[in-house]
């Protein structure tokens, strides 16, 4: 790899003096992008409408003004090209961060991901790597037109060589995105767009990455383990509240990195609780929930006190907005499932 022509600032590993500020997820993402660009000149952003418009969700707002149109660039309209471009840039030791406007338009980029991004390192025995991040808003619940509410994480999680990361809160979005950009391998970073502005939490612009490949425990409890990621954690946590009202302690895990999967953490929790409900918006069949359930059936069978439950989008086409709520995992559905596991004898 050639040394980049211009000197690259090196990230200060955590600047704890920076005050945390209440921020939404989209603000946290913008902050992380700005931080990464400021710290490493090799980072560049591109995608449709990410420049002057700041992205259709405003995740890149202000970044073109700050870093210039060379480093924050609007591309012609093509998702496959975006990812192919990133492969070439990454091969030249750049750090491309590409945005696909909605995950439903990411299917077109799957060929470049599966046949190139994910395997450049392997097929060249490490001579050429592919440190890129592909950001995609995903999921439903915002009454968007058809094709705008897809949750395709399972497709990416099946592909070897990729990491698939999903944040569930502003602070986690900040830290995981920094980690994704710093990662030496390609990361598909799926942003639950329903959470972009749903709530705020304190986020410090301290440059601290969160660890990838790790689940985190959002709530402890010993009766049943609820496993989810992204926006569905809202309903999952609400279900935990309702279960608490009924006297059951639910543990809630945020998977965060869907590939590779931190199965050990899930097994550890289920080994304690004996019961597991997996929740995801994505279609049920061959979803990431299946992988978690399979992992448990392999490694925690003897600890399971009840059948594993999955609360997921059905194996239907994501409904147009008027009926989408019937597809999304709702708190009552999660509570029902948890109760079934608790009632099992």
């Amino acid at each position: 790899m050639p040394e980049p022509a211009r000197a690259m600032a090196v990230a200060e590993a955590g600047d704890a003096t920076v005050e945390p500020v209440e921020r939404t997820m989209v603000e946290a993402i913008r902050l992380a992008l700005g931080r990464a660009m400021a710290e490493d000149e090799r980072v560049l952003l591109f995608g449709e409408d990410v420049g002057r418009n700041g992205g259709v969700f405003r995740a890149t707002e202000g970044l073109q003004a700050r870093f210039g149109a060379a480093r924050v660039r609007d591309t012609p309209l093509s998702e496959a090209m975006l990812v192919g471009l990133a492969v070439g840039l990454a091969a030249q030791d750049m750090r491309p961060v590409a945005e696909i406007q909605f995950a439903g338009f990411g299917y077109a980029a799957l060929d470049q991901l599966a046949n190139h991004a994910s395997r450049m390192r392997n097929r060249t025995r490490g001579r050429i790597a592919c440190p890129m991040v592909l950001r995609m808003p995903y999921g439903g619940g915002i009454r968007a037109p058809e094709h705008h509410s897809e949750s395709p994480e399972a497709l990416f999680a099946h592909l070897p060589g990729l990491r698939v990361v999903v944040p569930s809160s502003p602070a986690r979005a900040y830290g995981l995105l920094l980690a994704a950009i710093a990662d030496p391998d390609p990361v598909v970073f799926l942003e639950p767009k329903r959470l972009y502005r749903a709530s705020k939490e304190p986020v410090a612009d301290d440059g601290r990455a969160l660890p990838l490949d790790r689940c985190s425990t959002l709530r402890e409890g010993r009766d049943v383990t609820l496993v989810s990621w992204g926006a569905s954690l809202v309903e999952t946590l609400a279900a935990a509240d309702r279960l608490a009202d009924e006297g059951f302690e639910a543990e809630v895990l945020d998977v965060a990195t869907l590939k590779p999967l931190d199965l050990d953490a899930i097994v550890a929790s289920v080994a304690r609780s004996g019961r597991c409900v997996i929740v995801h918006e994505a279609k049920r069949s061959v979803g990431v929930g299946a992988e978690i359930a399979a992992g448990l059936a392999e490694q925690a069978l003897d600890r399971l006190l009840a059948p594993i439950e999955r609360v997921t989008g059905w194996d239907t086409i994501v409904p147009f907005p008027r009926l989408e709520d019937h597809d999304l995992p709702s708190t009552p559905r999660i509570v029902d499932a948890a109760r079934r596991t608790l009632d099992h004898v």
Binding site: P76, R143, P145, F320, H326
Partner: protein, 359 residues
């Protein structure tokens, strides 16, 4: 040694000047006055529908909506050139063409209101529904055209796309296969100068989008997209070639998106008001109206009467839309497959149980 092995030209067509007069050198318009009025009416009808849809969205009664304000001449010109049994393969900003072809306003409202029944057109049963993934409808049009060709039918497909769509592989791939198989299909690019915030010049270094046809070895032509008569003429000629077995054509219609990209967009973030103002002067409805007035083909109160009738239709249809109860929850399973698989029946039952009022 260097010699030229191929030469190409891209023509441009315009019949009506902005002031409604025939452009120097244009052949006199061939339509009878009544036909011209029909086109004027259709553009107006599309615009009034459009305005109502935006209003419904602002009132929280419709989902995100893509206005076609200012682009009516392309949609109507294209539809007017088509035969009933041709097939329209639209993008998402061509209600003008869909309405002409018999899609009902309530269907379009339902679609943009988030209800699948909005794609179950009572009128043009074979027309494809709105296509959201940009450019991905292009190969469908080639497939439809291939079916016509195989069955020896004198029909054609018409595919509408935006300037942004011309950057997508699907577009080139489809045009290429259509060219090599001489399929009866016409691709019409509505170049409205923007793809959300990306201006046309940032989309491609090609001087015209019509010249993308050259890559496929097919004719490409530019037309004034605010001139409904020119659009119709160019597309009509292209359709005639298609039906005669002479293959596809790419038409680039130059117009302008006067509205925001959709109701979720705020175009002031990325383009100047002054640019928009300049384009308002090119209003396609105004242009044809002037033409008809100049030639005495439009009675003084006719347009007002037509507008009133349209408003009534729009309101009636909006009411019908608003009065349409949602589909039952179980309907999400009804049309995924011809028959919902037995193996997945438990999902349907669980969903329906949850959706029941007492659940």
């Amino acid at each position: 040694m260097r010699r030229v092995v191929a030469r190409f030209e891209i023509p441009y067509r315009q019949l009506l000047a902005a002031d409604g007069r025939l452009v120097d050198g244009s052949a006199p318009v061939e339509h009878p006055a009544a036909a011209l009025r029909t086109r004027l009416h259709a553009m107006l009808r599309a615009r009034l529908f459009d305005a109502r849809a935006v209003a419904l969205q602002r009132a929280g009664q419709l989902g995100t909506y893509a206005s076609a304000l200012g682009q009516e001449a392309v949609a109507v010109g294209v539809a007017a050139a088509m035969a009933d049994d041709d097939v329209l393969v639209p993008s998402f900003r061509e209600h003008g063409a869909q309405l002409w072809r018999g899609v009902r306003m309530r269907e379009l409202f339902l679609y943009w209101g988030g209800d699948e029944r909005g794609c179950d057109y009572e009128g043009p049963r074979e027309d494809l529904p709105v296509c959201i993934p940009v450019g991905s409808q292009a190969p469908h049009a080639a497939g439809v055209a291939l079916a016509f060709q195989l069955r020896g039918e004198a029909r054609a497909a018409v595919c509408l796309l935006g300037d942004g769509a011309t950057s997508k592989g699907d577009f080139y791939e489809a045009l290429n296969v259509a060219g090599v198989w001489r399929l009866p299909v016409v691709y019409v690019v509505t170049n409205n100068a923007w793809a959300i915030s990306v201006p046309r010049r940032a989309q491609s270094a090609a001087e015209t989008l019509a010249q993308k046809a050259i890559a496929a070895g097919v004719p490409g032509e530019q037309v004034d997209g605010n001139d409904v008569l020119a659009v119709e003429q160019v597309v009509r000629e292209a359709l005639a070639r298609a039906r005669e077995g002479n293959g596809p054509t790419l038409v680039e219609a130059l117009t302008y998106r006067l509205a925001d990209h959709t109701t979720s967009d705020d175009a002031r973030r990325y383009r100047d008001e002054s640019e928009i103002a300049a384009h308002r002067a090119e209003d396609p409805i105004e242009r044809l109206r002037r033409h008809l007035e100049t030639t005495g083909a439009l009675a003084a109160d006719e347009l007002a009467a037509f507008e009133a009738a349209c408003r009534e239709e729009v309101e009636r249809e909006a009411r019908a839309y608003l009065a349409t109860p949602p589909q039952p929850a179980a309907s999400i399973f009804d049309s995924v497959y011809a028959r919902w698989p037995e193996a997945l029946e438990a999902q349907r039952i669980a969903c329906v149980a949850r959706a029941a009022p007492d659940a």
